[in-house]
């Protein structure tokens, strides 16, 4: 049902810009529906080209679709940063379920090494203070966690060491040499409290997933993996939220998504957590309910998320050691584990998996729960 509509005047409206006009149209549509701002819990946008969103790029699906010679019934590209891969697989499941398409191809790809672009610049006015890049942002979160809960560098180190130990059992992983705590602690500081070994790899690569109907999947070659639940939550108010550097939006969509799948954190055999920085793994262990708020540091101590530990986290090594796969490699590792095709790193009898994606300025989060 469409419950409300609203728009501004159209024509020459300077000095007002799209930003002012969007606020007016949004308020008008919500008022037309008889609702209040606080009732809104979803946001979809269609930016016009003068907003700069298309500068220098063709929409991703348009370029890739043309190169693959496709004339599909459904298309889209998600601009959710590191949550994008998990979100597109979730969106594919919705489209297939709604009958909009039958075989939906989900593709992540990037080549930051072969075709580099500048990642250094922060957004807007923060850049003038030297607030550049994802590492600075996550350093603020790490400092906050250390201050509030007594989390130590060694706790972050446990995450980096576990990732390498997992990658040692992953033939295609980039960093397969095990790491010691002494090496981690001697790692060069980038933006303190984060070291180089707290940061994920920068990789060229692509990864793709095919989503189809249950009926179609039954007759295909590979053992199908079921999407048991999906969810998203986002924190767009950013610094205005007192929780911004302490909790991720995962704290909201994690429990909801698990409930949709009829599972709790203790029911998951394999957990694929987006790991652009070690601190994000710690935060998600709390947000998804694997441990209490503030306890993720001691939780990972002693190798709990390393191979043979009691919680199977990122068994392929993740962004920290397998390679930067935008989140799609996390989805693929979950599928491999559920198919029983993970070789030396196979978690015995893996029947359920969770996959997370986290992106932009710690603003976006998406979750999938998969089962066989």
């Amino acid at each position: 049902m469409i419950a409300g509509v609203g728009h501004t005047a159209f024509g020459r409206l300077a000095p007002r810009t799209a930003w002012h006009l969007e606020a007016e149209a949004a308020a008008a549509a919500v008022a037309d529906a008889g609702l209040r701002p606080a009732d809104v819990d979803g946001l979809l946008t269609d930016p016009g080209p003068a907003q700069g969103i298309l500068d220098g790029i063709t929409p991703h699906f348009l370029r890739l679709g043309a190169q693959l010679g496709l004339d599909p019934d459904y298309v889209g590209s998600e601009i959710l940063g590191g949550a994008g891969s998990v979100a597109v697989v979730g969106r594919a499941a919705l489209a297939v379920e709604a009958g909009l398409c039958d075989v939906c191809l989900c593709v992540y790809g990037d080549s930051p090494l072969a075709t580099p672009r500048s990642f250094e610049y922060g957004r807007g006015d923060e850049a003038v203070f030297g607030f550049f890049g994802a590492v600075g942002l996550h350093a603020l979160a790490a400092r906050r966690h250390m201050h509030r809960y007594g989390t130590r560098p060694e706790h972050l180190g446990e995450v980096a060491i576990a990732a390498r130990a997992h990658a040692a059992r992953t033939p295609h992983a980039e960093k397969r040499r095990p790491l010691t705590m002494a090496e981690y602690l001697a790692s060069e500081p980038v933006v303190e409290p984060l070291r180089k070994l707290d940061c994920c790899l920068v990789s060229d690569g692509a990864a793709a997933v095919v989503v189809t109907t249950e009926e179609r999947a039954r007759d295909l070659r590979a053992r199908p993996v079921r999407i048991l639940g999906q969810g998203q939550a986002h924190s767009l108010s950013t610094y205005a939220s007192p929780e911004h550097f302490e909790r991720l939006p995962a704290a909201r969509c994690g429990p909801k998504t698990l409930a949709r799948a009829g599972l709790g954190p203790g029911d998951l055999d394999v957990v694929l957590l987006y790991d652009c920085f070690t601190i994000v793994v710690l935060l998600q262990l709390e947000d998804y309910g694997f441990c209490a708020a503030g306890e993720s540091g001691p939780f990972v101590a002693g190798g709990r998320i390393a191979p043979g530990g009691s919680l199977c986290v990122n068994p392929s090594g993740g962004l920290l050691a397998e390679g930067y796969g935008g989140g799609m490699l996390h989805v693929i590792e979950a599928v491999r584990q559920l198919r029983g095709e993970a070789g030396e790193r196979q978690k015995a009898d893996a029947a359920t998996a969770l996959v997370s994606g986290h992106g932009l300025g710690m603003n976006t989060h998406a979750t999938l729960v998969l089962g066989r």
Binding site: E24, P37, G130, R144, A240, F245
Partner: protein
């Protein structure tokens, strides 16, 4: 190292008045004329009630360090490392990203009271923050 490099992003239409106030030595925060909510950065409407009736208030310039990070790598020639980026909670409530200056990076701490100090940087005057001692800070 020369202090040139790629241009940093210029102020946009919504934040230009904030930077003009900085030139006058005033830290300006946005305030909603309908619900009274005070916020940064300035926007096209109140982020709490969506009213477009907005006013500007002068902040007292005092606050506390909520969290901070020490850049050990230089990402822009105009901003040589090391330097401290911090999230500052102003006494009036809004939080903003800025720098902590006037002390060594090793002396910065979460919870530290700070006061604004305007510094010229290129063609802007930046509201940076320096240690303020405990008198008159946020309680």
């Amino acid at each position: 190292m020369s202090a040139t490099g790629p241009a940093l992003p210029p102020p946009d239409a919504l934040t230009a008045p904030f930077w003009e106030e900085c030139r006058r030595g005033v830290l300006a925060i946005a305030a909603c004329a309908d619900c009274g909510h005070r916020f940064l950065p300035p926007g096209p409407c109140c982020p709490r009630c969506w009213s477009r009736r907005l006013a500007v208030q002068e902040a007292c310039g005092r606050g506390r360090v909520e969290t901070f990070a020490v850049y050990r790598r230089t990402y822009h020639p105009a901003l040589p490392a090391p330097y401290v980026v911090a999230l500052i909670a102003l006494d009036e409530g809004p939080r903003l990203i800025s720098n902590v200056v006037g002390c060594a990076a090793a002396e910065v701490a979460v919870g530290m009271p700070v006061a604004v100090r305007f510094e010229k940087a290129g063609d802007r005057v930046l509201p940076r923050f320096a240690p303020a001692g405990d008198q008159g800070g946020a309680s």
